[in-house]
Symmetry: C2
Subunit: 151 residues, 2 copies
DNA sequence: ATTATTATCTTAGTGGCTAAGATACTTATT
DNA sequence: AATAAGTATCTTAGCCACTAAGATAATAAT
């Protein structure tokens, strides 16, 4: 029946998620970071600079934990603290893209080329299928997370 | 160009992985577990019973950490320790499927039905595309992880 | 039998996390 | 302008999971 196929893909997507966590953590350790630090550094890279408070609310960590994380990043020259001009209580965290890239690129390089090769093997139509799946699956996961986070 | 599309899907797959981590951790916290505990409990469920040592090498944790983890699981009645018949040094960890399901099912229920609905919306051909992508992507990630773990 | 190996547990020490409070700056009120 | 309230980050104490190393107990090898 169709159900079996659906179940199988569902299980595969689960394994996919799990495997990516594993890789992510392995890369982190290789780079001398914890899994969470790696994750949140990715945040910073994606969003560009942000304040410590923004990072705290985005990560769900307490401000104290964020302070410690920024300390660790700063010690490794991966970010720089800067006081905001218009509000000097605010601490702007500026990722040092060059250093961060230098740290992770060698670790991800092969993975990246392989992933690109994999995707290049799909037709335009097939890529659209993947795209549509990802978009909707992401939405589902985000709404699930949101609902759970409420009381 | 084609490259742009590939890059975009690659970025989406990254976001997909990240979002699934977030959901996974949120579910874990709701269940009163840490993210890692949730992950490794999933291991146990999938593989059925295994020994403490197998769990240690599979997770990469030290045997001490595994002992602590089993203690936490046991306290919550999620697993049971049993000494192996043929080698009484070995500790077999038996997941209590019923209790584990009871803990997680309510948290995953809606997600599960939504995921199934999403997949049911794809044609057989399209599902094959997803399947093939997942299978190959998983392989790439596993080989990346393996290579990094070696030297 | 004795020795080596294997499987798990125990213990001491480390590090990141939370919660609560301290510090420093900004905004609102009078 | 002076004081109070609010906001952003940092600091500190205490907790908990982790590692590393060694202890304990059972099995395998000579």
């Amino acid at each position: 029946m169709e159900d079996d196929i659906v179940q199988q893909v569902r299980r595969m997507s689960q394994l996919y998620a799990y495997t990516s966590i594993q890789m992510h953590e392995t890369v982190a350790r290789k780079a001398g970071l914890s899994g969470t630090d790696h994750k949140y550094l990715g945040f910073l890279m994606q969003k560009g600079q942000m304040t410590a408070g923004e990072l705290a609310s985005l990560t769900g960590l307490t401000t104290g934990a964020v302070t410690g994380m920024i300390d660790r990043f700063e010690k490794k020259k991966l970010v720089k603290r800067k006081f905001s001009e218009d509000d000097r209580r605010k601490v702007i965290i500026e990722p040092n893209t060059k250093n961060i890239m230098a740290l992770f690129e060698p670790l991800y390089k092969e993975f990246r080329t392989q992933s690109e090769a994999l995707l290049a093997g799909f037709s335009k139509k097939e890529i659209k299928v993947l795209e549509s799946y990802f978009a909707k699956a992401i939405e589902i996961m985000q709404s699930t997370t949101k609902k759970l986070e409420q009381p």
